[in-house]
Symmetry: C2
Subunit: 639 residues, 2 copies
């Protein structure tokens, strides 16, 4: 149940995350369960804001379609997708304490091997033996223990009886792929089109670890773009061509002392480093989006998959990575997102395994005339000749005509010749005396060509059916949230006191504005409640707080990243100020207000989180001012 | 796999739902799985809008906290909640075809019994026998078949090995209850406070049916309000006191020909029909909210649970119900939401089963001085006397002192007397010669009272620990969505053609605005794309459509409930109009624009769904106009 790898900032963050309601291990009252986290009020709001920001950018702005599929899916879907057979981790069980571990992690943590998963279970078992590796829990040697494939899918049973297995989806993508036959109708069969989904996904990890970073239940946001690899509109690459990011390509990774290239998306594409224009586009849009939610671009990079990491069907794949190490230690790069060119793998699999049609009709620029060989076997001859096999023979003739029409042509000329002269027919499919030969279940059947009804038609085709290719930007919401908290964590000093705050962008901050009555008397609370209600009516997320000194209330909001605080004081309600109380100041002592303004009647103090600067704003202008500040349409310093 | 009970409007709705991308049974390519639905682009957007509307009303506006807990939860949580033992349906399996059925449904469908679930499995078995009920699938008699308890929870296994059972949560509520010890800290231990959650819940139904209405995976929105039953702020009942709704109380249900009372929330509360003020408040807020998302209030009612329906711990419970029958048939009332006063049941259970503290400290108005009996046993005497049992004896003495201090007082006076006179001690806890007697594991131990260190302290207490009560409005998002589609479904005639449209409120409509170029030439498409991009930038949900006649494009948007359509024509781009094209009209023929206005340069046509009226609006005013129309801040008829 313990959290490992928690040091420095990370430990502070985990403590703050629990204390201030971002996230904590679930069901702590019952000892908790590894790999399951509950987002508290601040975390749930931050997560929701991140999801909505992604939805706005990658669904609404792009004109894509979003769907919402079940988290429990039936077995045939994962037979087709390959998850049922191949979605495993290597498990080794300690013979002494019975604890289960990831065998590849034990190898990576204790040897020079870096990508042990790719080595396969046999080799990993050998390495454990060679290096005499031991159980991380109890120290017992693991040499000679079996390395098992452990399925990462959670299995359950649907309905009564035990005949219908269901699985918690390991990715949201399958919910999109499996519905493609319907989705293409919604897109009116025009490529490219994109479908998104935000939702839960599950991996039954052997050893969950690193807080939110390796969990058993998480939220994904995936975009599946369906493209015609040879045709169709490309992305608006110009719109992101100037975005600069570190590109850590295969070449840079394999070079000694290779460093990521700090170049624009446009240059990365022109150089061929990011070959596919859609991948390049999404990398640019992705970098901009991560920046917008608070990821520090100095601790961010794009890393290309090495050939060993990539699935066999993926032509190219880039990860977005973030460094979430504490200060002064080695960078700890974690995967935030993957951007993969998946070819036609996903749709082809479902096309093969199901009875539905996963193709799209590609219209040719000009109709094309092609020759199409056909047969029309004379069943009144085949029936008596071949009995029960006649139907299969007819099918085999149709297949042969499509694959090797020459066999029929040669048989026909042999037949013509044999009726004319005595030349010997050729060997092979063209049998004796102008016949063709087909195989059915290992038997050869010879059919006179004139009984096959062979003909070649000229057909004009306006297009063809193709299986679309898939470009997939896929990201983890929980990891984005963790990274944003890590990158926005700040410590400074205000009025001689240490302060912890989260420099979250106003767009994603869980609470946009804290509203405080200066004192809980003289009608200040009632007025402050009204102000809070007005702000909520504008759709702002408001925290009302009337307990403790103003300075403490500021600190509470600082810690959860609330960008603005509003204090209702005597000037707000137009009454003579109680002399014993000054303007709200950062410290508990009544120092001068940092704005230096004279409080005007009907105004409130607005205080900015990052600078702690204060300004007085007319109460009536407050809702629209704060909406503008949240949306980035106004700057606090210029007010 | 088939959908039963689909007739009239309902069948039309299900067909439209699939064709236009609202919802359809999942994984249809593999034959589908009963009880699992995928929301297509329109449905996912409508669902998201309904969720956000609920969040705005019941989280943000109320100042409640929202959390986001895992869908997989460990077994001990459901041991405490009672779901592990009691969350079952009655299953009967056909001996002939092997099909499983809900035994109580078979009884309800074929006898006069209406609430068979409450009768228990034995009685249901008897009724099946008495009435000679048969398998609905194959007609074989079911008399004498065992009625089994079938758990409705989906079970899975967490991690390697089989020791750790997890369950897909049957309700989102437990994710809130179990974290109460942490949540009360976020609320700084002040009651009342409310916590919400929107998320997936699961019920492994024996026979899913009625489209979205009885499914195995669904989305709940739940609010758990934690209150002190004797104290604390009440709701702002005045704010909803004037809301009128049909209240179908126990009395009205039990009266012959009883009809719901059409009265205000305020009156329902004053009459004592809805006794709890919080329940009354949420009924009012709930009715207003359902109306706002498109539920027809003429097909809506609140129905109080009969005493047999209510859980034993629930003091009162009301359901919101909607009629989703087709026109001209018997009303088919379905449950949309439950509003329950759950007493301290939920938190008491977790307090009892876990080691955490589920109480909140209730401060008294005035400190109270109470007597508290204590013991301080003399272990140097008890040790030699009782050996290994001495510790348990000391604990038993402390218990006895709390429960029956008189025993010590009497023993003491007996002791005083026996040292003075020779009176006989009383029987019972006061033993011979001024001793007290305690039982430990069935043995009696007699302890001289002077060795117990018995004393009575006067203690001043400032408050006490109480287990908060829970008021729970709990609703199903999928059922709300289904009802909204059903209640907003319209058929009319426009320009002599039949039209189907959804009269969805603009706030929840999946798409707010359709944008069409009149023609796909002369730069109209490019201008229309710019208009669409501008609208998207304002956060509007936009559908761009350039295919087919304008009339057909209107119909497509009508069918998915898009409240406004914008057409970009020659006037928009300031060019002479192509004479062959008129203004966009409803029919394909070029009739006069219904607005009758002269097209001005730089304007577009905005067309309203419900009236099909058209107006010309300056392109530059378009984004803010449409935002105002969507948010209800402007009316189309007054523009």
């Amino acid at each position: 149940m313990s959290e490992d790898n928690e040091t420095g900032t990370s430990a502070d963050l985990t403590e703050l995350a629990k204390r201030r309601g971002f996230f904590t291990q679930s069901a702590g009252a019952y000892g908790g369960v590894s790999g399951f986290y509950t987002f508290g009020p601040q975390g749930a709001s931050l997560k929701d804001n991140i999801e909505n920001s992604w939805r706005d950018r990658f669904t609404l702005q792009e004109g894509n379609m979003e769907i919402d599929a079940p988290t429990v899916m039936p077995e045939p879907v994962f037979e087709a997708s390959g998850h049922l057979d191949g979605f495993d981790d290597m498990l080794v069980e300690c013979p002494s304490c019975g604890e289960s571990h990831r065998a590849d992690h034990i190898v990576e943590d204790n040897t020079e091997y870096e990508e042990a998963e790719g080595l396969g279970p046999d080799r990993v078992g050998q390495i454990i033996e060679e290096y005499e590796l031991v159980c991380p829990t109890c120290g017992t040697g693991l040499g000679g223990r079996a390395i098992e494939d452990f399925s990462l899918m959670f299995e359950t049973n649907i309905g009564p009886g035990s005949s219908s297995s269901g699985y918690l989806r390991p990715e949201t993508a399958q919910g999109i792929f499996v519905e493609f036959p319907q989705l293409k109708e919604y897109a009116r069969n025009r490529l490219p089109f994109g479908v998104t989904q935000i939702g839960r996904a599950y991996r039954n990890e052997i050893s969950p670890r690193k807080s939110l970073l390796r969990v058993r239940e998480f939220t994904q946001a995936e975009l599946e773009l369906f493209v015609d690899p040879e045709d169709g509109d490309g992305p608006d690459l110009d719109s992101v061509a100037d975005v600069v990011a570190p590109f850590y390509g295969v070449e840079q990774q394999e070079a000694e002392d290779g460093e990521p290239l700090e170049i624009t998306v446009g240059e990365a594409h022109e150089r061929g480093l990011v070959a596919d224009p859609w991948i390049a586009y999404y990398l640019g849009a992705g970098a901009e989006w991560y920046r917008s939610i608070g990821v520090d671009m100095d601790r961010f990079r794009f890393r290309q998959h090495l050939s060993g990491e990539r699935a066999h069907y993926a032509a190219d794949c880039w990860d977005a990575e973030a460094d979430v190490s504490g200060p002064g230690v080695e960078p700890d790069w974690i995967e935030l997102a993957g951007f993969a060119y998946r070819s036609d793998y996903d749709l082809s699999k479902h096309d093969e395994y199901s009875d539905e049609d996963y193709t799209v009709f590609r219209q040719y620029d000009e109709p094309v005339t092609v020759e199409r060989p056909t047969v029309d076997p004379d069943m009144s001859a085949l029936g008596p000749a071949f009995g029960g096999a006649a139907g299969d023979v007819a099918d085999a003739l149709a297949e042969l005509a499509a694959e090797d029409p020459e066999a029929f042509r040669e048989a026909r000329s042999a037949s013509d010749r044999s009726s004319g002269d005595g030349e010997k027919p050729r060997d092979g499919d063209a049998g004796e005396d102008g016949s063709v030969v087909v195989d059915v279940d290992g038997e050869s059947y010879e059919v006179p060509v004139e009984q096959t009804g062979f003909a070649v038609e000229e057909v004009t085709e306006s297009g063809e059916h193709i299986v679309p290719h898939v470009v997939e930007p896929s990201l983890g919401i929980d990891r984005a949230l963790y990274t944003v908290l890590d990158h926005c964590y700040r410590e400074d000093e205000v009025d001689g006191e240490e302060r912890t705050f989260l420099e979250l962008p106003a767009e994603v901050a869980p609470t946009t504005v804290g509203v405080f009555p200066l004192m809980d008397r003289d009608g200040l609370s009632e007025r402050a409640q009204e102000v809070a209600a007005d702000l909520r009516e504008q759709g702002l997320s408001v925290a009302y707080d009337d307990s403790g000194a103003i300075g403490r209330r500021y600190r509470r909001q600082d810690e959860v990243g609330t960008p603005f605080c509003v204090t209702v004081d005597y000037a707000t309600i137009g009454e003579a100020e109680d002399d014993s109380e000054g303007e709200p100041s950062e410290a508990q002592s009544a120092s001068e207000p940092s704005s230096g303004e004279q409080p005007r009647e009907g105004t409130v103090t607005v205080r900015e989180r990052d600078t702690t600067a204060q300004k007085r704003i007319a109460t009536e202008d407050l809702p629209e001012t704060l909406v503008a500040l949240r949306d980035g349409d106004a700057a606090f310093s210029e007010m």
